[in-house]
């Protein structure tokens, strides 16, 4: 078991290293530079700027330097904002994470309960309407859902603020907007997973033993039935927690998302790298957790 963890952790580290290398050189070798937008910069100022960020060095040297700093937890300076990347992430990431937590809770609560309920009421009106709603959830993108929620709950009903940041109320609408698509996918996956188990011979055995329906669902079906959902949850939680550029834009959330588009536009080298690293680490970490959870759920999986 510990060997498995060590192996997986090592492969995660290697993957992150490859991602860092690849994105470093892609961003660097692409046309354009952080200072190309300000056309009238005199050459000596430009040189000073380049020297400030270490961009006057050969690219291999810059890379080694970047890695050295990274190992000490230093993500470098933003070329657009008068701040270090660490500061920008430290300020914006917690907001995105809070929003993501609301979204995850919403998605799990709605998704799993609707999926389980639809599965045990298979082929009833409940099942059909839940699945139709889930399909709507998948078909309505967040940039449609967000404005409509604002229209209804902020501008018409005055229940929640239409955007901004500050209190818990500010997180509700963006959280729901972000989480709904995932809730819909989770509901479908959960239903399908549960149905697959409900059809198995061992559930028939459980019925033949005279066990209660609710007990069978809880004890015999849930564990195996949730495995597809868990698989999906790894990447899903990662992308909810890291937020969505669109949702944060719609609700004017001062999270990390808008910085990314901005950074990509402005060739803000270190900020792009910083955000990519944060996101990838999150995703790999979540997948790692999911793998561990598998072993707990399915005793047939061996770690070796």
């Amino acid at each position: 078991m510990s060997l498995f963890i060590a192996k997986r952790a090592l492969s995660c580290l290697i993957t992150i290293f490859i991602i860092i290398t690849a994105s470093f050189f892609t961003v660097r070798l692409a046309p354009g530079s952080p200072f190309s937008s300000e056309r009238d910069i005199p050459p000596e100022v430009l040189n000073n700027l380049k020297a400030k960020y270490g961009l006057d060095q050969p690219i291999e040297k810059q890379f080694v330097h970047y890695l050295e700093n990274l190992l000490q937890g230093d993500l470098g300076l933003s070329t657009k904002y008068p701040r270090s990347v660490n500061e920008i992430i430290a300020i914006s990431l917690p907001k995105t994470l809070q929003l993501g937590t609301i979204a995850v809770l919403w998605a799990l609560l709605i998704g799993i309960s609707a999926g389980v309920f639809a599965a045990i009421r298979q082929n009833t009106a409940w099942d059909y309407s839940f699945m139709a709603i889930a399909m709507i959830g998948i078909s309505v993108p967040s940039f449609v859902l967000g404005p409509i929620l604002i229209l209804v709950f902020s501008l018409y009903l005055y229940w929640f603020p239409p955007g901004g940041w500050g209190s818990f109320e500010h997180m509700i609408l963006p959280g729901i907007t972000l989480g709904t698509v995932y809730a819909a996918y989770i509901a479908r996956l959960t239903r399908a997973g549960m149905l697959e188990i409900i059809r198995t011979d061992f559930v028939r055995t459980a019925k033949a033993k005279g066990l209660k329906e609710s007990y069978i669902i809880w004890k015999h079906v849930m564990k195996g039935g949730l495995i597809p959902t868990i698989t999906y949850l790894g990447p899903a939680i990662a992308s909810m927690m890291t937020g969505s550029v669109v949702v944060e834009k719609i609700f004017n959330t001062p999270g990390i998302g808008p910085y990314f588009v901005d950074a990509a536009f402005n060739r803000d080298y270190f900020l792009i790298m910083g955000i990519v690293i944060v996101y990838s680490t999150f995703l790999l970490g979540m997948n790692f957790l999911v793998d561990l959870l598998y072993g707990y759920l399915d005793p047939r999986i061996r770690y070796d």
């Binding site: 198995t200 011979d201 061992f202 559930v203 028939r204 055995t205 459980a206 019925k207 033949a208 033993k209 005279g210 066990l211 209660k212 329906e213 007990y215 004890k219 015999h220 564990k223 195996g224 759920l297 399915d298 005793p299 047939r300």
Partner: protein, 323 residues
């Protein structure tokens, strides 16, 4: 002798895309206390559906009971509520299935799967239930029962899994055990052991057994009486001995001719020509007529009346006299 369970005119139908499937069409049989009844037929003959109907394990819909009754302890099982039915399942009537690999839950420890029966039906504490399970595992010939309880199904061999299933079925001392092809998925050497175990359980606990099999060889030495099914109907029933000595339906006869026997001289084995019919398109008249060597014009149109060979040996064939 009053039968332990009495199935009368059972009709279990399924509504499917291909039309109405009459999986059990007017099935009647009794099981007497302490006896082993064999139910024989090819796959698709409705024998599994018949046994699942007793425990009401048929999915409704698409399945439904079009008629008939199943009398057990003076009550019609088809009329019981789901709650009353639960009190019978696993408690008074137990079932073991064909494939012990898939019939046990791979996600749960054996202990959970055994003790939950006692917790449900006898309201036992877990400790007491565990002790009881160990006792039962010893009875069904499982060595090191304490250690096996902590295992998961995939850590056990096929034979051991089937023993676990049998132990699970017997925990509440049911009066009827339904064994649906209990040895089909097992190695030949293990098959004999499991059959021996079922027989000894029948004698030791006086549990009646319905033994379902497609294999006449399996039921031959095990059962007191036999029911032969074909295309959802019972075509012949009687004492096992009588049926083997004087098969009175062309299908039974053909079945017997298609397996090797040591008690009779055989020149060759004769496979039955053709294939069993699809239950959604059963031939008119006697369903066996397209494959029957004795079929006459009447067989194609009219379902045979009951012919009595002896008082309890019956056959559904127009041409009994020619057999």
């Amino acid at each position: 002798m009053t039968p332990l369970i009495s199935v009368k005119g059972l009709k279990t139908y399924f509504r499917t895309d291909e039309g109405l499937v009459k999986a059990c069409d007017n099935i009647s049989f009794d099981v007497n206390p302490g006896e082993i009844l064999g139910v024989v037929g090819e796959s698709g003959s409705g024998k599994t559906v018949a046994s699942m109907s007793i425990l009401r394990l048929i999915a409704e819909p698409p399945g439904y009971f079009d008629g008939g009754e199943i009398i057990f302890e003076g009550k019609n099982l088809l009329k019981l509520s789901m709650k009353e039915m639960r009190e019978i399942r696993g408690n008074k009537i137990s079932m073991i299935f064909q494939d012990p690999m898939t019939a046990l839950n791979p996600f749960l420890k054996i202990e959970t799967q055994l003790t939950e029966v006692l917790v449900q039906h006898k309201s036992m504490s877990l400790d007491k239930a565990r002790a009881k399970c160990i006792e039962m595992l010893k009875k069904v010939g499982v060595s090191l029962p304490e250690r096996r309880l902590d295992m998961y199904p995939h850590q056990l061999s096929g034979g051991l899994r089937q023993r676990m299933m049998i132990a699970m079925a017997l925990l509440c001392r049911p009066s009827l055990l339904i064994a649906d092809e209990p040895t089909t998925a097992l190695d030949v050497t293990i098959q004999a052991q499991i059959l021996e175990l079922i027989k000894s359980i029948n004698q030791e606990f006086n549990t009646s057994v319905i033994l379902i099999s497609h294999d006449l060889g399996v039921v031959a030495g095990m059962t007191n009486r036999l029911v032969v099914m074909y295309a959802g109907k019972i075509v012949e029933s009687g004492l096992t001995e009588d049926i083997f000595n004087k098969p009175s339906h062309p299908y039974t006869k053909a079945l017997l001719n298609s397996i090797p026997r040591i008690d009779k001289e055989q020149k060759q084995l004769d496979p039955i020509p053709g294939l069993p019919p699809s239950l959604s398109s059963i031939p008119t008249g006697c369903p066996f007529h397209p494959r029957c060597a004795y079929a006459v014009e009447k067989c194609k149109t009219t379902y045979p009346e009951t012919a009595f060979i002896t008082s309890d040996h019956i056959s559904k064939c127009w041409e009994v006299s020619r057999l």
